[in-house]
């Protein structure tokens, strides 16, 4: 996957996290954010499918389990991604903030290819995504991710929109398995840094912090 060259001055840094539901990434992202704030950095947080301008549209579709086909799904979420990238991420990077993003274009690749789009097609859609300074991928075996999930899986997160033949729970299990398989492939290609998420939170956090520490040393010459 190729990223777009910055057409702005990147004074801040972009830290992104990836992983399936139940990988623990959202907990990690919170901890990283708090830690950086405590070190005196100004942080900005953004997450997948959260652009204010499109929220009512997604809310309706997700709440009512309205089926949209894989292309509609892909384009709509890419629309959301670019709105946030242009209006939240890039302005923050320009003024030197640390942007922490829960999911990045990799989520598009993972989910859209799991829904049958060619990887090339999805990479083309996300060709204008800028490159993260750090991309952390929290890897857990499918059975662990599934076990961490306590509520009944939703329509889209279980891939039920594809018409998978089982109940929500079983659909979720196979769909998570598919996504983990692809995530590991991306990690193998060096696009995302695999962090073993299959351990208690307190043991996973230092791993995340070390990677971020290296970034700050390399990029800003600061030891934190």
């Amino acid at each position: 996957m190729k990223f777009a060259k910055d057409n702005f001055q990147r004074n801040g840094a972009l830290i992104i996290v990836e992983g399936v539901d139940g990988s623990g990434k959202s907990t990690q992202v919170q901890l990283i954010g708090r830690w950086l704030e405590s070190q005196g950095f100004s942080t900005v947080f953004t997450e997948w499918k959260s652009a204010l301008q499109l929220k009512p549209m997604f809310k309706k579709i997700w709440k009512e389990d309205i089926r949209i086909n894989p292309y509609v799904f892909s384009y709509a979420l890419a629309a959301d991604f670019y709105q946030r990238m242009e209006k939240i991420v890039i302005p923050a990077l320009k003024i030197g903030q640390i942007v922490i993003s829960d999911r990045w274009a990799f989520t598009g690749i993972i989910r859209d290819t799991s829904r049958g789009l060619d990887r090339e097609t999805v990479e083309n859609i996300y060709q204008y995504a800028i490159k993260p300074d750090v991309a952390l991928y929290y890897d857990v075996p499918p059975e662990v991710a599934v076990k961490r999930k306590t509520n009944v899986p939703r329509y889209y997160e279980s891939g039920s929109d594809l018409g998978l033949p089982y109940d929500r729970q079983k659909n979720f299990e196979v769909f998570e398995g598919k996504q983990i398989e692809t995530y590991r492939k991306l990690a193998g290609e060096g696009l995302i840094t695999l962090v073993d998420g299959n351990a208690p939170i307190t043991l996973v956090s230092p791993k995340s912090r070390n990677i971020v520490k290296n970034l700050f040393k390399k990029r800003f010459g600061v030891i934190i």
Binding site: P56, N69, P70, Y75, A79, Q83, K87, Q127, Y128, G177
Partner: protein
């Protein structure tokens, strides 16, 4: 992980559905708002129906979920960055493709589209989105059998929109007491000019009493309305510059796709005859 194969299998099926075989005919109308194409689309649909042809009409940005939301965005003036605008319309198109266009075409029906991919190419690229990017996200669109491009000077198109809005609103408001309205803001290039003009005129007419209304409907006062559409001269310039870009791209891309160019300046009845003859010749292969 053997289980993941089942995901691949179902995913493939979901995507293959969008590559259905086309049996029926696809007729596409393109042109800027006010070029006269919508009037002609209606007349052609009626004509085809009168000949006993099973015809399905479809409008731009009209799908059940994404289309509906695009309409809300227009109404509420929610603005997004050009690429988001472009992808959202591609999403809308993909939704309509699966739910309306493809089922009709594969059942052998004739589909008539008021705007098609050329609208996206012309408009999005005028907004600064790379043309190849737009073409790529519309790659699922089946190739039309007949493309009609309505050519009309932008100023004339705008005059028509104003006239239409005046007509519709004075007719509507005489039966009801007009609501006091505010004159709408300036035109956002990406929104529909038709919608903005209609809103502005409706607001303006809503403010007039019955007697005033009667005298405000003549052609000459239209130029007064025209001033209301644009807040400043700069807005007016920006609008025409944008439309010029759209028209230029429209001409190139419809030209490359063998469009039949319709002179939108001539009276609607002449155009109707012309279109009927083109359709009969190109679609129904009649002499």
């Amino acid at each position: 992980m053997e289980d993941t194969k089942i995901v691949d299998e179902y995913a493939k099926r979901a995507v293959e559905k969008l590559k259905m075989k086309k049996e029926g005919n696809l007729i596409v109308f393109e042109g800027i708002d006010g070029s006269g194409k919508t009037t002609q689309v209606r007349m052609l649909v009626e004509y085809l129906q009168s000949r006993g042809i099973d015809v399905v009409f479809t409008d731009w940005a009209s799908s059940a979920n994404i289309g509906k939301y695009i309409q809300t965005m227009r109404k509420d003036k929610i603005e997004v960055v050009p690429r988001t605008f472009s992808l959202l319309h591609a999403a809308e198109f993909a939704e309509r493709l699966e739910n309306l266009i493809l089922p009709a075409l594969s059942a052998g029906k004739t589909v008539v589209c008021d705007r098609y991919v050329y609208t996206a190419i012309a408009r999005d690229s005028a907004l600064g989105v790379d043309e190849d990017y737009v073409k790529e996200i519309y790659k699922l669109a089946p190739k039309e059998d007949l493309l009609l491009y309505f050519d009309v000077p932008p100023k004339m198109a705008l005059e028509r929109l104003i006239k239409r809005a005046i007509k519709e609103n004075t007719a509507k408001q005489t039966t009801k007491k007009g609501k006091k309205g505010k004159v709408a803001g300036t035109i956002s290039p990406a929104g529909t000019i038709a919608g903005t003009v209609a809103g502005t005129i409706a607001a303006k007419i809503g403010k007039l009493d019955e007697k005033e209304k009667a005298s405000w409907t003549d052609y000459a006062t239209m130029y007064g309305y025209m001033k209301d559409v644009f807040k400043t001269e700069k807005d007016e310039e920006a609008y025409y510059a944008f439309v010029a870009k759209v028209v230029e791209k429209y001409k190139t891309v419809t030209g490359e796709n063998n469009a039949v160019v319709i002179d939108g300046k001539i009276p609607a009845d002449f155009i109707k005859t012309q279109i009927m003859s083109v359709v009969n010749k190109k679609i129904f292969k009649a002499e």
